[in-house]
Symmetry: C2
Subunit: 316 residues, 2 copies
Amino acid sequence: MAQIGLAVHGGAGTIPAQTLRPEVADALHEGLRAALAAGLLVLKAGGPALDAVCAAVMVLEDDSQFNSAHGAVFTAAGRMEMDAALMEGHGRRAGAVAGICGPRNPILAARAVMEASGNVLLIGQAAEEFARAEGLVFMDEAYFSTPSRRAALALELARRASGAPDTRSDADRHGTVGAVARDQAGHLAAGTSTGGLTAKRPGRVGDTPVFGAGTFAEDASCAVSATGTGEVFIRFTAASEIAARVKYAGQSLEQAAFEVIAELASEGGDGGLIAIGAHGPAVMPFNCAGMYRGCIGADGSLLTAIHNEPFRVRKP
Amino acid sequence: MAQIGLAVHGGAGTIPAQTLRPEVADALHEGLRAALAAGLLVLKAGGPALDAVCAAVMVLEDDSQFNSAHGAVFTAAGRMEMDAALMEGHGRRAGAVAGICGPRNPILAARAVMEASGNVLLIGQAAEEFARAEGLVFMDEAYFSTPSRRAALALELARRASGAPDTRSDADRHGTVGAVARDQAGHLAAGTSTGGLTAKRPGRVGDTPVFGAGTFAEDASCAVSATGTGEVFIRFTAASEIAARVKYAGQSLEQAAFEVIAELASEGGDGGLIAIGAHGPAVMPFNCAGMYRGCIGADGSLLTAIHNEPFRVRKP
């Protein structure tokens, strides 16, 4: 029986350490722990990595602190366009949606694509209609929208109109949620869900639903969920590149993941990722000020962190 | 100065050899040669691989024998939804569009995304609006539509309604066009354009605009354009996998490409691809009855083939 493993992220693009109020930090850690706990329940009961990933991502989607589903950011046109993807390392089933607004949990729309469409990637209104036909719970736009995301959009549009330089923190630019897991059977899975970039161009799709870029799972190498400047993660096929170095270049997952994230930085790709392999703990490299992240310890502890700092440890 | 190289494909999914009339075969070979000639002109003049790929793909898009742009297949809803992607191996710039109908040459829409959007992937109506704002030539739906594609849709919808088994040849199912090139500076590029699958689910996107699946370029390894059962090419990150074996497993491009295509077959992935590396000729493996394909010989000959057969050779 394999040792179970689980990691989650709530996006690279964190509030800077010096301006993060303690009660806000506490709430972020609590949100990450809730996601870990949901995934851990599945894994401890012997459930599949795929279910653990879905459970963890759904908690993060429902939490408006993170940029996905409830709390998704707005496009430049003032709408919400969400992307989500899910992949299984065993058999490599995969499903993704891009440019949708409607399903309460976009990760479940990705799962429906994987399980019921015969396809892998569905986009736009047709993807919404498919999700509705599959019986997914839908919400009005008002559910997803939050005052802080609306304020961030207004601020950014005003900045663009004024021609002032972009001084936003990473937290105001982007964000994503994701999870990776290894179950008792040793199978891996990865899932990612995002609202994209604040004030993004309508129709823009980032790395989340691009398998091999922002989401990837293969039992022989690793499962990956990424967050950051999606365009660079796509161009350098970030997740596939890590898997390739593990499979063919004899690198450890840790070495491959940290090196790829460092290389992306030199190409202008800010961000990070969480990854888990066939053995050992999850790795969580990032090349920016911070990444909302968490994983489980060997004793079942819930470990969470935001910036480059020691984990907060919640004993089981 | 590097030896130039160029290959094109007009889709795996060919008319079966026994039912292909000689005059139809002649026209298909002529279409492939026209695309090769357009790309070759650019490369001989010292132009970049990217321009050669665009030139070749545009010829194939304009040719209604192949499933992209003029001659694109219909979705189950009777519309056309086209995908295209372009990638440069040097610097790894990339651009793609998915689910569009409007620009006469979708490959130019992908190029505009690469060069002018600041993004990598744009989808749907917003992508069309972007292409229009960039000044691309647009055509009415009537331009793209052909009687034979409409007949193929009607036949397939009738079959589905009757519950009869799917006995279509690959040619009636799918198709795609693409090109890969190596220029005098040794840089690589790849481009792909498709109408997708006949009677596909609206909103369905295949491997074409997924970098690392259906389209990929990296000077250090190879440039790839794929065609076939896109879902399987995505799940197994076909192009990235070939690049990884070349970079890290010491395989030749030929070995890697042929092995990956054979492995995809065992997962239900019918199709093929064209690929070119830093040195040597292009490779063009496929695991189905045929693939419309062509490449240039060392002496500048235009070599074309459809099924598993010797090339027709047009001397320079």
